[in-house]
């Protein structure tokens, strides 16, 4: 029996449908690469446990316990690192010819990038869920209203979305997955550590302290601490504006990153695949 294939004239696709096919593939990839799977499952849990129990005793946080302080930072770091995933998977697809194969198919315009973006959101948000559970177990609590809590998670989703565009830009500009890895380690690590991610900003020397105060990673971490009612890195009237208004400041970063990076990323991506 031969399978009847509808004729080309009658086949209709949609952006949503094609995006989902590419996204599902991306999720399969995560599930089937042991190191990618551990990045999104074991590693976040380990981070929470390590910082909570190893550093927890050594770091003092004014007005609260370190485990509560830690969660905002660790969420922020996970979201920023989300840029990695999409950059690596895009660079990988480009170097092994998958992008060309997709482009030879009658797919909706933009569905390859959109599919990568959806898979990458999953990659960022699954660890957030696991860390939340793990955090609750080690003593982290949300002390604010349901609306504030929802706002906190919405901020994480929004900032993840912004970081995807940074990732697309990296993936389009760098020649190989290895290059992405290199840049990520030399750029993203300092950015996430010179911040109030794991330690209160007051403990940093003055120049680093200023950088940390205005670092968007600090902003996201502080915004989450504020929205969840957890102890903050800096309290006091002499803190800079960025620290006094972390939610607005991180929303501004989010919008700014999307406004700048998304058009650049789409352009860079289109250029790299055009020849």
């Amino acid at each position: 029996m031969t399978v009847h294939v509808p004729s080309a004239d009658t086949r209709r696709g949609s952006l949503l449908g094609d995006t989902w096919v590419v996204a599902r593939r991306g999720i399969q990839h995560i599930r089937r690469q042991p190191e990618a799977l551990s990045d999104v499952t074991l590693q976040p849990v380990m981070f929470v446990l390590l910082f909570a129990y190893v550093f927890g005793g050594a770091i003092d946080v004014a007005g609260g316990n370190y485990r509560e302080f830690l969660m905002g930072g660790i969420f922020a770091q996970t979201i920023v690192f989300g840029a990695f995933g999409v950059a690596i998977s895009l660079a990988y697809d480009r170097t092994n010819g998958a992008i060309d194969r997709f482009r030879s198919l009658p797919m909706a315009k933009g569905s390859v990038l959109a599919g990568h973006a959806v898979a990458s959101l999953m990659r960022s948000l699954l660890p957030v869920v696991l860390m939340s559970i793990c955090g609750l177990i080690v003593g982290w609590r949300i002390h604010t209203s349901v609306a504030d809590a929802v706002g906190g998670y919405a901020l994480m989703i929004g900032f993840s979305f912004a970081m995807i565009w940074v990732g697309v830009l990296m993936g389009a500009m760098l020649p190989s997955p290895e290059a992405v890895q290199g840049v990520a380690f030399t750029a993203l690590f300092p950015i996430t550590f010179v911040a109030s991610t794991f330690v209160p900003v007051e403990s940093l020397p003055s120049v680093l302290r200023t950088i940390a105060e205005w670092n968007p990673v600090t902003a996201v971490a502080e915004a989450l601490r504020t929205l969840f009612g957890n102890p903050s890195a800096i309290q006091g009237p002499d803190a800079p504006w960025s620290i006094q208004h972390p939610v607005i400041y991180s929303l501004a970063w989010m919008v700014g990153i999307i406004a700048v990076c998304a058009p650049l990323a789409v352009r860079a991506y289109n250029r790299t695949i055009a020849d």
Partner: protein, 323 residues
């Protein structure tokens, strides 16, 4: 509707200063197999990329399945299959998942896509491996899966960019057999190759490309005629006799002979037929020159290619001589 499945007119493509295609024109009738033959960097892949809408031409026009590749890209893509130079199967999906994904992206619907995937796995002798991740496949299996993936939506026109590069001879023969069945089904195929044997074996019509230009075209027989008939050859036992043998062959064939020193082969095109061989044998006997081999052979596409592009090959690889 056009009778041609592929029609390229004056295609030009530049990468910086380099002209990858300098006005390439050819057409492929529906149901035919056309071989784009040329050395590395001749522009074969660039031509395929333009015809499959992966890149735009800087000049010229092309239609595939009767549709302009520049303006009807989406409709063209729904009607073609492309197997790129490196098999682009997804290593982290199973063979079956690979095929279903392609089917879904051709908008066949999940049920049809799954049924079609099973059918193709069967046809390509991959049924047992269908549930395994493609990264566990051998090179030959990957190629077969890649080819199967191009056929999911039953394309009107199939593009195969160096389909057997990197395959061992056995896998290559298997793939050739599969292509034969496609041809029997009436699929139009454009394949690029550096292997003359492959173009001769598979293609009805051969377009020889070099430096972004079409330098010859025709079926294998017509191309062979361009070389000037059969080759009269002899292999003297003593390399010291090469010059004398060459003089004799040149005399009898009436054309300047080629000498390949390492293999001690002297040959020249002739239309003298078997009589030329006996005359050569007589002449050698009279002169008392011993030979390992003597005869008349049909020209291969290799000879055609070297006749047409001999200059170029001599430039880049001076040590390589016509055999």
């Amino acid at each position: 509707m056009s009778t041609h499945a592929i029609e390229a007119v004056g295609l030009i493509k530049r990468y910086g200063d380099k002209e990858a295609l300098a006005g390439v024109s050819f057409e492929v009738p529906r149901g035919a197999v056309c071989g784009l033959l040329g050395p590395n960097g001749a522009g074969k892949t660039t031509a395929v990329r333009i015809l499959t809408t992966l890149t735009g031409a800087d000049g010229g026009t092309a239609t595939v399945a009767g549709l302009d590749v520049a303006t009807r890209g989406g409709d063209v893509r729904a009607r073609i299959g492309l197997a790129a130079q490196d098999a682009t199967v997804d290593a982290l999906l199973t063979g079956r998942e690979n095929l279903i994904m392609i089917g879904e992206l051709h908008h066949l619907g999940r049920r049809v896509a799954a049924a079609r995937a099973d059918e193709l796995l069967e046809q390509f002798d991959l049924s047992d491996a269908g549930g395994r991740l493609a990264k566990t496949y051998s090179g030959g299996m990957r190629r077969r899966l890649d080819l199967a993936a191009t056929l999911v939506a039953r394309p009107e026109v199939l593009f195969l960019d160096e389909p057997t590069t990197g395959l061992d001879p056995r896998a290559r023969n298997e793939l050739w057999d599969v292509l034969d069945t496609l041809v029997a089904d009436g699929t139009t195929i454009l394949l690029t190759t550096q292997y003359l044997e492959e173009a001769d074996r598979l293609a009805d019509d051969i377009v020889v490309v070099d430096h972004g230009r079409v330098i010859a075209r025709g079926d294998a027989r017509a191309l062979k005629r361009q070389v000037g008939g059969s080759q009269l050859f002899a292999t003297p036992t003593d390399p010291g006799d090469l010059e004398r043998v060459a003089a004799m062959i040149g005399d009898i064939a009436g054309a300047p002979p080629g000498i390949d020193v390492p293999s001690r082969l002297v040959q020249a095109p002739t239309d003298g037929g078997p009589l030329a061989v006996s005359r050569l044998a007589d002449a050698l006997g009279d002169a008392g020159i011993a030979v390992d081999d003597i005869g008349l052979r049909q020209p291969t596409l290799d000879d055609v290619f070297l006749t047409l592009t001999g200059e170029h090959i001599a430039e880049e690889q001076p040590q390589e001589v016509a055999r």
